[in-house]
């Protein structure tokens, strides 16, 4: 089905793109188009003008910086991230995640930036990026600001990004311990997913801090605070009992929608299963990396 007509522009600088979108509310950034065109074809989104950001150089870089942080340009496709040597070495779970998003065609053109900015609750990257403690770099007419991945999604299909703010980059500290991710899905998109990132003490098999996020259940990824606290300062050998002691209570605090992906109780149960499987994997990987 055709979308209704719009005009099209392809600026070559960030500044021109931001200005072209402006604040009239009639223009939208256009990246891979894998979400946007679908929504326009279904008449869920209407816009007067698309501002294509594919002509802006430099938005698809992936680098490990001197500050020991990993920067991923917003225009990186899932395919690009899955194959990138820096990501494969320092955050292999993210590379596997991107290699399993959608299908090969969506991965060829769909970007990490488009995935985040669409704000779809049933998505993989937001959960992982929140566990990695990522910051999102937004550039608008008034300057640049950083937003924590945890705070980026406001509600279903809505983010804190202003219409004329371009997401330029995603930045997160290079992981210093095992990062694990699991999802369960029976349709195109994840029904529930769990990401966990441990930072380890340099000289022992002790967990310094743990970040655990459960996604796809409400509008945005949610932390499992009680599990994080239970893992803090814990030796790898004690992980399982530590989690089991607080798991039921932690899962009870999740805000879970009943939707076509399943009832709330069912998905709460799945979250626990995925979390424990992540923990098993993290324990073997944490030990191996010593």
């Amino acid at each position: 089905m055709l979308t209704s007509p719009f005009t099209f522009e392809k600026p070559t600088t960030i500044a021109d793109a931001i200005e072209a979108v402006g604040d009239s509310g009639e223009s939208m950034f256009y990246s891979g188009g894998t979400e946007l065109l679908l929504a326009m074809k279904m008449r869920v989104i209407h816009t007067e003008r698309l501002v294509d950001i594919k002509g802006i150089p430099g938005l698809d870089r992936i680098v490990l910086t001197d500050a020991n942080e990993i920067e991923i340009g917003s225009r990186c496709t899932h395919k690009r991230i899955a194959a990138d040597p820096v990501i494969r070495e320092h955050a292999p779970a993210l590379s596997t995640l991107c290699d399993n998003v959608a299908n090969v065609r969506v991965r060829s053109v769909g970007t990490i930036g488009g995935n985040l900015c669409f704000g779809e609750p049933h998505a993989d990257p937001p959960t992982m990026l929140a566990a990695l403690n990522a910051r999102l770099v937004l550039q608008g007419q008034t300057g640049v600001r950083f937003v924590h991945a945890d705070e980026f999604i406001r509600s279903e299909l809505e983010t804190v990004r202003e219409p004329d703010e371009l997401l330029t980059m995603i930045v997160f500290p290079r992981p210093t311990g095992p990062v694990t991710y699991r999802r369960f899905k029976h349709g195109e998109r994840p029904s529930v997913n769990v990401a966990m990132a441990w930072s380890m003490e340099a000289t022992s098999s002790t967990i310094k801090t743990a970040r655990v996020r459960v996604g796809a259940l409400g509008s945005r990824p949610q932390p499992l605070k009680a599990v994080e606290d239970a893992l803090k300062g814990r030796s790898i050998a004690d992980v399982r009992p530590a989690i089991e002691a607080v798991l039921a209570e932690a899962l009870d605090e999740l805000d879970i929608n009943d939707d076509r992906h399943g009832g709330a109780d069912y998905k709460r149960h799945l979250a626990g299963v995925l979390l424990l499987r992540n923990a098993e994997e993290a324990m073997t990987r944490g030990k191996r990396s010593r």
């Binding site: 089905m1 055709l2 979308t3 209704s4 007509p5 719009f6 005009t7 099209f8 188009g33 894998t34 065109l37 679908l38 074809k41 698309l50 294509d52 594919k54 395919k79 290699d99 959608a102 299908n103 090969v104 065609r105 969506v106 060829s108 053109v109 195109e188």
Partner: protein
């Protein structure tokens, strides 16, 4: 008002230059104005793969790609991978192994498999399944398609025989 834009791209190796409306979809341009009907549209939502074309060698859903996006790039359709005097080795394998019945999904599968073997001439069973997971077939049950691809994956051919 319709916003018309000039585009110039390679379609199966031939340069095409024309004006298109900004909201024209690639599949409509190719099947409609350019008259190449081999590519099929089914789901219209990037799920089934019937509309698969290659853009600079990568598979894409032409049902959800703007024609203006192919400006200065290379598009390959099923017509472009079919030799004038017969069938490609991928097409022959599908025939030989019974990898099609109604044939509606077949152009998309042929495009995806062609791209897969170009990137990875000897994929493992898991790699084949992973790559083709986004192409749907309602007739064959996939086993015969898988066998067709498998037969190609274990074959040793010179670079230019593809």
């Amino acid at each position: 008002m319709t916003h018309m834009l000039p585009i110039s791209f390679s379609l199966n190796g031939q340069t095409v230059s024309m004006e298109v409306a900004a909201h024209t979809l690639l599949i409509d341009l190719v099947r409609g104005r350019l008259g190449l009907k081999g590519t099929k549209r089914s789901c219209d939502m990037e799920v089934c793969g019937a509309c698969t074309m290659l853009l600079d060698g990568d598979p894409i859903s032409s049902c959800t790609t703007l024609a203006v996006d192919v400006d200065q790039r290379e598009v390959t359709t099923i017509e472009g991978v079919t030799p004038p005097d017969g069938l490609s080795r991928v097409q022959k394998a599908f025939v030989l192994h019974g990898g099609l019945q109604c044939g509606f999904c077949t152009p998309g599968f042929i495009m995806a498999v062609t791209a897969l073997l170009k990137a990875n001439p000897h994929p493992t069973d898991d790699e084949i399944r992973h790559y083709l997971h986004g192409n749907l077939c309602r007739c064959t049950g996939y086993v015969k398609i898988f066998e067709a691809v498998k037969s190609l994956a274990i074959e040793h051919v010179s670079e230019d025989a593809a």
